[in-house]
Symmetry: C2
DNA sequence: GGCGCCATGCGTACAAGTACGCATATTGTG
DNA sequence: CACAATATGCGTACTTGTACGCATGGCGCC
């Protein structure tokens, strides 16, 4: 048994069972060892999940869009992280547990800073913009995940419906555009970052899905991010 | 024993002990009853924390700024929620566990929608703007809380310092301004929402603290939002 | 070839949330 | 006042993460 073999097994478990069933004990059973044996190879459960999530991130983060198309590339990068976090409760858990400094996360950050730099932002402005985008993305994913599967209690009136609209893919795109707009207008040298027409002027929502949403969204496993 | 008395005791406990020590068992001890007895009055621990957090929110959410000063009022509203969430792990936990529809939360939402409406946004645009602001605020607080108390592992290089800057009060203000800028520019009729000069053009940070930060920040108790 | 040491696996135990169902108390009804 | 129905407190037990320390096995060195 080695750290790698433990992480491998954990990865398989995460991909094959609802998050609520990913426990140290079930993992140990899968490896046919006693639960406490795992702790010779990982510091604790979060350490283990961190490794697994790094692999998922490495496989999913990179946008397919042309990096020269700055706005679209940034939008897709945010969209991909959001998708991963909502789709994989383990990933959200890791992102909410502390700063993520795994290799893939650092590569992603560097790539985004690079693109923001090419948009005309200096190093400081790029960092600020990245931080704002990242915060918004993780925040949105956290709220969306915690809401999915939520049934409005019978006591709430129309409020519930109102809240549901807060965590739609369209709303994510809208907020992202606000941010990109604001970032561009704060930086004199920045070219126009947002791509395409306003994703929803003032008409009803359902008009069109988010520009780069990778088709259908699935839900899986337990949501509760805590 | 009644629901109210349980919530009262829980509130006292939350205010007097680190979050990690706020347990059903310690609460039961405080009330001098058996742990399971509490479950006659609250659905589960989250239900209980929800009540407590509503009280905290009710006491803290309302900005002192003049609501006519739209940008400043909105900024302070966001700042106050951020402060509460970072300061009180219980509050963050609740906000990350599901939609918060407690009375104070609904009052706050209505007030914000109202101010956004006065800024010239129609109902739909106001909702979108509110959702974006709310997402950003909760997201920022979640990241800030999970980072506070974090010690960069000796292996990380300058990355750690870079990350630290992501969750400073200044950075919160910067991102908020991006959003308000973007919101204003997306709505033809909207007056200028952001207040005052750019909170940090491209020079070094320390220029000035967030406009309405309520003085000194404290930290208390365990942070891990899990 | 023998001996000691560290790496590795694990048995036990504890604190947390809470499901389940019993027992007592309280209230409503004739 | 007697009895039923309901409300309330709680003992027990299960699941989870993980601290602690024992035990064994393989490896080095003489």
């Amino acid at each position: 048994m080695s750290r790698d073999s433990v992480v491998d097994a954990a990865e398989r478990l995460v991909h094959s069972r609802p998050f609520g069933e990913v426990t140290i004990r079930s993992l140990a059973a899968q490896l046919d060892v006693a639960p406490m044996s795992l702790y010779r190879h990982v510091r604790d459960k979060d350490d283990l999940l961190g490794e697994v999530v790094d692999r998922m991130l490495a496989a999913e983060w990179e946008p397919a869009a042309d990096p020269a198309d700055l706005g679209r590339w940034l939008t897709e990068a945010a969209e991909r992280l959001r998708h991963l976090l909502v789709d994989q409760p383990a990933a959200l858990h890791v992102y909410l547990s502390g700063p993520v400094v795994s290799p893939a996360a650092l590569r992603r950050m560097d790539a985004m800073l690079d693109v923001l730099g090419r948009a005309g932002l200096d190093r400081t402005a790029a960092r600020r913009a990245y931080a704002a985008l990242h915060t918004y993305t993780v925040g949105f994913a956290a709220l969306e995940a915690s809401r999915s599967g939520w049934r409005p209690s019978p006591s709430d009136g129309g409020t519930a419906a109102e809240l549901a609209a807060f965590t739609s893919p369209e709303q994510f795109a809208v907020g992202l555009r606000y941010l990109l707009d604001g970032i561009a207008s704060a930086s004199p040298a920045a070219g126009h970052l947002p791509t395409g027409p306003d994703p929803g002027g003032r008409s009803t929502p359902g008009g069109r899905a988010a520009e780069s949403a990778p088709s259908r969204e699935r839900r899986r496993g337990v949501s509760r991010p805590g």
